[in-house]
Assembly symmetry: C2
Homo-oligomer: 488 residues x 2
Amino acid sequence: MTEASGLSSAGMGVGVEPELLAEAVTHELAAMLQAGNYDAVKLLLEPVQPVDIAQAIGALPANLQAIAFRLLSKDEAISVYEYLDTATQQSLLSLLRSGEMREVVEEMSPDDRARLFEELPAKVVRQLLSELSPDERKVTAELLGYRSETAGRLMTTEYIALKENQTAAVALEIVRRRARDTETIYSLYVTDAERRLTGILSLRDLVTADPQARIGDVMTEEVLSVSTDTDQEKVARTIQRYDFLAVPVVDLEQRLVGIVTVDDVIDVIEQEATRDLYAAGAVQAGDDDDYFSSNLFTVARRRVVWLAVLVLASFFTSEVIAANEDVLQKVVLLAAFIPLLGGTGGNVGAQSSTVVIRGLSTQSISSLGPLRAITREAMAGALLGVLMMLLVVPFAWWRGESALVGLSVGMSLLAITTLAATAGAAFPLLFDRMGLDPALMSTPFITTCTDVAGTLIYLKTAGWLLVHLPQLVQATGISTQFFALGVF
Amino acid sequence: MTEASGLSSAGMGVGVEPELLAEAVTHELAAMLQAGNYDAVKLLLEPVQPVDIAQAIGALPANLQAIAFRLLSKDEAISVYEYLDTATQQSLLSLLRSGEMREVVEEMSPDDRARLFEELPAKVVRQLLSELSPDERKVTAELLGYRSETAGRLMTTEYIALKENQTAAVALEIVRRRARDTETIYSLYVTDAERRLTGILSLRDLVTADPQARIGDVMTEEVLSVSTDTDQEKVARTIQRYDFLAVPVVDLEQRLVGIVTVDDVIDVIEQEATRDLYAAGAVQAGDDDDYFSSNLFTVARRRVVWLAVLVLASFFTSEVIAANEDVLQKVVLLAAFIPLLGGTGGNVGAQSSTVVIRGLSTQSISSLGPLRAITREAMAGALLGVLMMLLVVPFAWWRGESALVGLSVGMSLLAITTLAATAGAAFPLLFDRMGLDPALMSTPFITTCTDVAGTLIYLKTAGWLLVHLPQLVQATGISTQFFALGVF
C-alpha cells in the first residue's frame, strides 16, 4: 500500500459516494481511450483516488490498460500499480517497455513488491531483481525469505527510526524530510547502535514535546512488538486490541526490521473472516478473494474436494439405513423422519461449531475455557432438543400414525441434538489444541458426521421400540392398554 | 475509544506477547487486591495498556472491581472505563459515589458515552445527563439521536477543524494545543464560516508544508465523506478501500459534524463478519459478540427461533416421503439414499450461498452482475453434480442392488445440485435487491429448502423408473434384456 497514513487526495467534490464514483470513472475511461481523447483522460483521472483508477484500469481490455497506465504521472503510476490485481500487474510488465516499468517496480512499497514477485515466473523475478537498486534488491530478497502470512511478509521496511539522544526538534526535522517516502510518520521508533528497538513514540508525542527534550525522555520504553514469524492473524489481533496504527516487527535478536500498519491489518481481518466463512460453507478459500473473477473450473476445483469428502461420509449413513432395512420394512413411515432428525442434528451441530470457531477467532471463548465451553454447548444442545421435541413429537405421532413412532423420534431427537452440540464444540477446540486451524473442522463435516450417528441412534431406538419390544411383549405374554396407542 | 491514533504506552519490556501479559496481570491483580496490597497494584498496573487493565478488572468480583478502579489515576480511569464491558461499567456506576464517576463520564469519548447510555436504564441516563457540562450534554443527546449502526452513532465529535486562511504555522500550533484532548490529530479538516467541510489535510501534509503557506493552498479540496445516516458497514468499506485513518461525517447541509476513525471501523468489520458467520450457522447475532459470557437461556434463545423454522421446514420433507410411501414400500432400499441426496444438495447450496453472501459483503461480486453470477453458479452446480455422479452412481447401483436405483439416484443428484446451486445464489441476491440483509437468507434455510425439493425429485424419479415404467412395460408387453439389470 501507498499512503497508509496520509489522506491521499480524494475524488471529486465534497460528499461524493465512493462506489458511484468508481463505476462512473470506469465507464468514462473506456470511452475516452477508445476515442483517443488522451487529454480528457488525464483531466478525468486527476482528482480520482489511486484505488479507483486501479479498478477502472483493471476493467479495461489489455491493450487499453497499457495506454491508460502510460497517461499517469510517475507518482500516480506507482500508487495505482500497487492497487492493481496481480494479473493486470503482470500484463503491464509484459506490455510496457522494461525501462518504463523499472522505475515503478523500484519505487513500490517493499511489501507490495514482495507480494507481486511471489506470483511472477521465476525468470521474470530474476530479471526484475537484477534491475533493482542494491538496497531495494536486498530488502525484497529479505521479505521473500519470510513465510507467507507472517508478520515478516506483511511488514514494510519503510519506517522512521530515531536515536535516544536526538532532541525533539531534530527528530521533527527528520520526520519532515522523510515524510514523502516512508509508509507512516505517525509511529516513530527508537533504536540503539545495534538497531535494537528501545522505545516508541507517536508523532502526537513529538509535536507536543518541548523542542529541546531528548527523545529518550519523550519515548515510551514499554513496547509491544511482534516477531517476523508471528502469524498474520495474531498481528491483526494485536493492532485491533490496542487500537494501534502500526506495530513494530523485530527479529530473533530484538532488532527492529519493519512495521505492520493498520490498513494491511484490515485486509488480514477480512481475509481471515472470508476463510472462516468459506470453511463453514465447505468452500476452499483462494489466496485472495478472487472467487468471482476465477473461471468455472477453478470454482469447481475449490468445491469438489470438500463435496467428495462429504459424499463419502454420507455413504456411511446409507450403510446404516441399509443395515436396518428390516426395521424400515416393518414401518416404512419411519423413513419420513430420517431427514428431519439428521437435519436438526446437523443444524444444532453447525450452530455450536459456528460460535466456537468464531469464539476462537476473536478470542472471546478464552473467558470460558474449553471444558466449560463444551459442557455449556452440550447443555444448550439438550435444552434445544427438549424445545424441539415439543414441535416434533406431536407431528411424528400424527404423521407416523403411532405413539411409539413419536416416542422413537422424540428420544432420538434429544440424543442427537445433545451429541451434535457436543461434537460441534469439541472438534474445533480439539483441532485448535492440536495446532490446526479450527475452521478446517468445517460445519458441513460435523453436519454429515452427526447425520451418520443420528440415523444409527434413531433406527436402533425405533427398532427396539417397534420390533424387539413387541416381540418381547408377545414372548412374555404381557399385554397392556399401552399398546392400544401403538402400531400393532 | 481513547487513543485512536497515538501509540498509547504499552505493557512491560520490548517484545512481550500481548495475550500472556493480559492473563498474567489478571491473576496477579486479584491476589494483590485480596491481600490489600494496594501499592503493589499501582506498581503492577502502571506500565499496562488500558485495554489489558480493563480486561483484568472485568474478571474481578464486583467488590474488588470498585477498589481496583479507585486505585487508577484520573486519566487512566477514563481510558480504562471506555474499554470495560457494559455490565462492569454499570456496576461501577452504582458502586462508586456519583462524584467520583461524574468526572469519568464527563471526560469519556462522546461515542463511547453514547454507547454506554444506550444500555443504561432511562432514569440513570437522565441523572447522568443532568450532571454533564452543557457542551457534553448537547453532544451526547445529538449522538443518541442517530440510529444505531450508522455513521452518526459511530462518529466522535472530537476532531480538529482549521480555516482556509490560517497559515501552516498557526495550524500546527492549534494541533499542538489540542493534541491531548482530541481523538486524532493526523486527519485535519477545513471548514468555512457555516461549518461546511471545504477541504482536508493530513498532519503529514501540514508538517511538510512551508510554515507560511495558507491552509487553503495546502489542503485537498476533493474530499470523500459519509453522511450521518450512512450504514456503518459502508463507512467501514470506505475507510478500508482508501486506506484512510478517518473519514469525515457531514449532515444534510454538508456541515461537518464528526469523524469516524479506523480503529472503530476494524470493530465494525469484525462485527459484520461475525454476523455473516452466525447467519450461515443459523445463530442470531447479539449486539456485541458476547456469546460466551451470556447465560444458557440467552444462548438457547439466540438459536431456538432459526432451529424451529428449520424443523418446520423439514416437516415438508417428511410429508413428501410419507406421500410417496408406496414407492418406498416397493423398494425400501431407496430410503438409504435420501440423506445422501439431501445432504449433497444442501452442501452445494451452502457453498453457493456462502460465496454469494461473502461476495455481496466484500463487494467482489459486483464485477460479475447478478444474472451472470446465478448462471455461473448453476453451471458450477451441474458440473459438481456430474463429478459427484461418478462416485454416487456406482455406490447406489451396488448398495441399491439395481441399475435402476443407481440411475434414479444419479439423475436426481444432477437435478438437485443444479437446483441447489441456483437457489443458493439467487436467494441472497434477491434479498439484497429487495434491500434486505442477504445473510438472513441463511445457508441452513437454503439447505432445508433444497432438502424438500430434492427428496420430491428423487422419489418421483424413482417412482417412475421403478414402479410406473415396469407397469407400462408389462401393459404393452415389451420385455427386453434391459430389465435383466433391474430389480424385478
